[in-house]
Symmetry: C2
Subunit: 337 residues, 2 copies
C-alpha cells in the first residue's frame, strides 16, 4: 500500500483563492491493475487556468494541474519503471495513472512521456517545453502570423507564456516590446531575454511609452492581461494587425459575471481591420509534439532561454499558486515536490 | 457653363453634426476636358463613415459620399450621355468626373458604371446592390463563415447593412436574431425581412431575451453597434464563434479618444476561442462586382428584399444624415436629389 497526499478543493474561490478553500487529504492508493502505473510526482505546475476553471467540477474535486512524475511501479510494459510522465494528475505526491484511459471529463486530459529534454530539468517539460511553450508557439505563430521586421507587443511579458513569446518573436526577426509588473522583470526581459524594450506598466504612461517605442505602430499583440492596457495597445495597432488573446490575468480573480469595463476596441477593430482571436492550448493537442520538438531545438541551439520560477515543497504549492496569480514569478511557476 | 451646388464641411463635427458645420456652396463648373464627363446627381448616400472620417481631410472639404448620377455631357466615349455612374463625388447636384483618374487621397475612390439593376431604382445601387450590400456580403460570408443551422445575431439589424446581413443569413439556412431600436423596426424585421426573432434593444433585457431566443448559444455575431450590447452578446457565444465588426454606431458621435467603456470581452474570447475581425468595404474593392452580381440575382429571385429609406431634396441631405445617425431609417438611407 502506498500512502498519498493530494490537494482537494472543497470551496469555490471568491476573489483571491484562500488556503482554507483547500484541504490536503491523505489516503491509501489501491493496488495497481493491468495498464496502470504508479507515478511519484517530481514537479507540479501552477497555472492561471486553475483559477479560471474552478467551477468546472462539482465540489469537492482534486486540484487538477500539469505535473511530471516518475514511474515507480508499472503494470504497463510501455511505461517501465523510471519512465517520466507528464500528466494532468495535479497537486499530489503520488498518482495512479491508467495510461490508455481517455478522461473526457478532465479539462486537459494529457498523458504523455516526458520528451527527451537532453539533460535539462524535467520541470522544463511543464514550462518552456510544455503547455506554456506550446501556447506561446501556436498562439503567436498561428494566430499572430508574425513577419520579420514587424513590431510585436507582449503583455504579461515576464509570465510563463509571455517570456517565451518575446523570445520566439526575436527568433522570427521582430521588434519586441514587453510590459511587465516590476522593474526587476523589465531588466530581466531586456538583459536576459533579449526584448528590444520593456516597461513596468505600473509606473509607466503606457500610451506615451508605446508611442515612443513603436513610432510606426504595432503589428502583432500578444495579450495575457486584458483590461484598459489592452485598449491602449489596440489603439496603436496598424492596419490588418493581429491580436492573440491568451489570458486576462488583470481580472482572473473576478467571476465571469463581474468582469471589469474598459474602453471599447471597436473603432480600432473596424478602422484598422484588426483580427482578434482567443487561444486554448488543449485545442491544439494533436500538434503539441511538433511545437515541443521545435522548442527543445531552440533551447539547445541557445536561441531560447527556458524561464522558470521554482518553489520547493509539497506544502508550498498553494503559496506558489497565489504568488503566481499576484505576479510574483518571472517565467514559469513550478513547484518541486 | 453649368451652375452646381455642393455641401462643404467647414468645421469638424463635435458630437452630433450641426447644420452650421456645413455650407452649401454654389459655383460654376469648368468646361469638360477630354476624358471627363458631366454627371447630374440623382441619388446621394448618407452613411456612418461620413461621421467617422470627418477628420481625414483638411478643412474646408467637399462632403464625400457615394452617389449615382447620369451623364449629361461626355468627353469620354466609354461613358456616353445617359450612362449612370456610381462615384464618390458626394453631396452635390452636378459633378465633373475624370473617369480614368485615380484619386488615392479620396477615402473611397469608386467610379463605376451602375450595374444593370433590371429595372429597379438606381438608388439600389447605393444600398442593397452597392456598398452596404457588398459589406453585408463579404463581412458576413467571409468573416463570419456561417454554416446552415447556425445561430446568427445582428445588431443594428434594421440598418443598411444589418437588414441585408439578416436576409443573407436566412438564404444560408441560419437561425437569425436581430436587435434594432424601435418596435416598428422589430416588426419590419420579423414580418417583412424574415428574421426568426427580433428585439427592441431599448426596451428589452438583452441578456434574457437572447438566452431564450438562442438557447444553444450564438455562433456568428455581426456587430454594427459595439458597447455593452456587444459584451452581452459575445458572452453568449459558442466555442469557435465568429464576430464581424462592421461598425460601432453606439458611439459614432464620440471622438476616437473619448470612446465609452464596456465589459471586457477577454474571458469569452479566450475560453471560447472566438475570432473577432473588423471590416472595411474599400479593402474588398476588387471583389465588389462578384458580390453585386450575386446580390442582384438574389433580389431578382425574390430571396432578398432591397431595403431603403428615402428622403427627397438636395436641401434635406444634412437632415437625412443626422437622422440616419440617430437611427430614424429602416434600411439604407438615401436622398433623391
Amino acid at each position: 500500500m502506498v500512502k498519498a497526499r493530494k490537494y482537494v478543493v472543497k470551496k469555490y474561490f471568491e476573489g483571491v483563492p484562500k488556503r482554507s478553500d483547500y484541504e490536503i487529504v491523505e489516503y491509501e492508493l489501491p493496488p495497481l491493475k493491468v495498464g496502470e502505473v504508479l507515478v511519484k510526482t517530481e514537479w507540479v505546475s501552477v497555472d492561471p487556468y486553475l483559477r479560471i476553471y474552478h467551477k468546472v467540477h462539482q465540489l469537492p474535486y482534486d486540484q487538477f494541474s500539469n505535473q511530471v512524475g516518475i514511474v515507480e511501479q508499472s503494470k504497463d510494459p510501455n511505461y517501465p519503471v523510471g519512465t517520466r510522465i507528464v500528466s494532468h494528475k495535479g497537486w499530489c505526491d503520488y498518482a495512479v495513472i491508467n495510461t490508455a484511459k481517455v478522461e473526457p471529463e478532465d479539462y486537459l486530459d494529457v498523458k504523455y512521456k516526458l520528451p527527451d529534454l537532453k539533460g535539462m530539468s524535467p520541470s522544463i517539460g511543464l514550462g518552456t517545453a510544455g503547455m506554456p511553450g506550446v501556447s506561446a508557439y501556436f498562439a503567436f505563430l498561428e494566430l499572430c502570423q508574425p513577419k520579420a521586421g514587424e513590431t510585436v507587443v507582449v503583455t504579461g511579458a515576464a509570465g510563463a507564456v509571455g517570456s517565451i513569446v518575446g523570445q520566439i518573436a526575436k527568433i522570427k526577426g521582430c521588434n519586441v516590446i514587453g510590459f511587465a509588473g516590476s522593474d526587476d522583470k523589465v531588466k530581466w526581459l531586456e538583459k536576459e531575454l533579449g526584448f528590444d524594450k520593456a516597461f513596468n506598466y505600473k509606473t509607466t504612461d503606457i500610451q506615451k511609452a508605446l508611442k515612443a517605442a513603436a513610432p510606426n505602430g504595432v503589428d502583432c499583440f500578444f495579450d495575457n492581461v486584458g483590461g484598459e492596457m489592452c485598449s491602449i495597445i489596440v489603439g496603436q495597432m496598424n492596419r490588418k494587425g493581429r491580436v492573440a488573446v491568451c489570458g486576462y490575468v488583470g481580472s482572473y480573480n473576478e467571476e465571469l459575471t463581474e468582469q471589469p469595463k474598459a474602453t471599447i476596441l471597436h473603432p480600432s477593430i473596424v478602422l484598422n481591420e484588426l483580427r482578434i482571436e482567443g487561444f486554448v492550448a488543449r485545442s491544439w493537442l494533436d500538434r503539441w509534439p511538433e511545437a515541443i520538438e521545435q522548442l527543445i531545438t531552440w533551447i539547445k541551439n541557445g536561441q531560447l532561454k527556458p524561464t522558470e520560477h521554482v518553489t520547493v515543497g509539497f506544502d508550498k504549492i498553494f503559496d506558489a499558486f497565489v504568488g503566481m496569480l499576484a505576479g510574483e514569478n518571472a517565467g514559469k511557476a513550478v513547484v518541486k515536490v
